[in-house]
Symmetry: C2
Amino acid sequence: MTQIINKPKDAVSQVLNGVAFIHQEKLERLSNTGIIKKQQIDDSQVALISGGGSGHEPAHFGYVGEGMLSASVSGPIFVPPKTAEIVKAIEAVASEKGVLLIIKNFEADVTNFLEAKKMAQQSGIKVAHVIVNDDCSIEEGSYKKRRRGVAGTILVHKILGAAAKEGKNLDELKQLGEDVVASMNTLGVALASGKTIGQEEAVFSLEKGEISFGIGIHGESGYRKEPFFSSEYLANELINKLLTQYPVSISELPFAIMINGLGATTVMEQYIFANDVKRLLQLEEIDVVFQKSGNFMTSTNMAGISLTFLALKEKKWLDYLNEPTDAFAW
Amino acid sequence: MTQIINKPKDAVSQVLNGVAFIHQEKLERLSNTGIIKKQQIDDSQVALISGGGSGHEPAHFGYVGEGMLSASVSGPIFVPPKTAEIVKAIEAVASEKGVLLIIKNFEADVTNFLEAKKMAQQSGIKVAHVIVNDDCSIEEGSYKKRRRGVAGTILVHKILGAAAKEGKNLDELKQLGEDVVASMNTLGVALASGKTIGQEEAVFSLEKGEISFGIGIHGESGYRKEPFFSSEYLANELINKLLTQYPVSISELPFAIMINGLGATTVMEQYIFANDVKRLLQLEEIDVVFQKSGNFMTSTNMAGISLTFLALKEKKWLDYLNEPTDAFAW
């Protein structure tokens, strides 16, 4: 499929210039970097930064705004930003209360963000980090949970963003982030591969009518392929796998859920799936008190969907989810 | 490509149930209808209704909310809602100040909405209508402008919604709507056809690397096919065609622009295109004072993009565009 691009090597930079143009009232790009930041940084609160490779839009720049992130750092497609750029982002938003890094659990991301944290600390900035690892899919062969950071990361942005605005300090935010991550699970499914920008070939291949469970946001293969039967069947499979992650005592808590389109899944399909999720969770007597559906963290134009569950251990978490934000993709 | 659906005949109904679930705090579905409405109808203002065939999500239910529509009516895929359902929607939201119908200019839509208007008037409800015909593409053969209602319809929802909330009466809103429509032009381009829900076949076909100018939102063929060169070239072509719609005196006014993804175009592509639009409009010395980019009115999962220009004849129009709304897709 033809893509609306110019030279592929300029794609990420042009995307960021486009973001700065469309959202010029509130956001700005630090020139020649992958950094999108709020124009007005509030010095009285902890600043939040997230980022990663490009190809997951509107993550993460879509979550920069009042009550969410202070800045995002975008690397090349599916490649994390360089350490030096992360340091630059930290310096650009740092307040006396410090900076919290929200990192998706991929080895290269974690390495670069932690390296940047160390460098910023050496120059006297208070920095802490939270690693998000909501993916509960299983590795083929080893049967280990892969625990990558996927769509649930956006819920972490929202909860920590509202808590930072409320005035929580760096230690409190780190603790809150870790508590939220420990209560959160996401499982995704792919129906067709996307093509990354500037590439002719699909990232992976599936037979017609076949779906892949536990797909990653970079096209990492899933843990099982099977024929597609129906949205209801799919919802049932994902819900069952997600609920097994929670002991019964936890599954009695109120839940927040997020349905995330991976890029090429239509809005119609997302709401059909949402309707099935609703009915099946009613049958399971799960108390859903917060629900959201949309394209929050994509994998270029992959066809597929993910479902995130967050057991709300504290009433306050729901308040944080419901706080207003002007981040454009929330 | 596999689609996340159950029985195709149930698709639209299940979509609307999904919408009512995800947005349960503010919206509701009138059961067994295509109607999504605000839970709280403000009797002190004119109520606004829009609608049409399904397949254009998040249009139009995504624009139901405070300061935009009071209700939307969805028909089957690419088929307008039945007259009786439109009447039902009018009755459900009618206030003493009346109801304004915002209709996209397709023959079957206009017929059903005007029939419904007549029936509601006979039962004593004040109803007026505005027809949106922003598409400035050319019909092959006759060389006439096709003037269908496309993405610019969303700007009409926003401006009229804010004006209705401000207290304008039915006649004033109709006049305002017609003035806005007369200042607005949209041109779209397709890079690949979508597949409608439940269909195996693409709606139309394009050679690899070929694009089609002036495509409709139901897969109506464009007015010219040519090879794709670059986002910049595409932006240049669309801008040139759009600017020829305005006399020089008008092109000196401030403009609002909207970039609309048609379904399968990635967020990266949309912002790359936005960046080209920005640079080219600067060269043309067009004063852009409002800009928006996203998937506002899609054609299922068609790959493509449209560009809408609105010459802001009144400063007030910009205020209306900037007024807050809680409609989830704005």
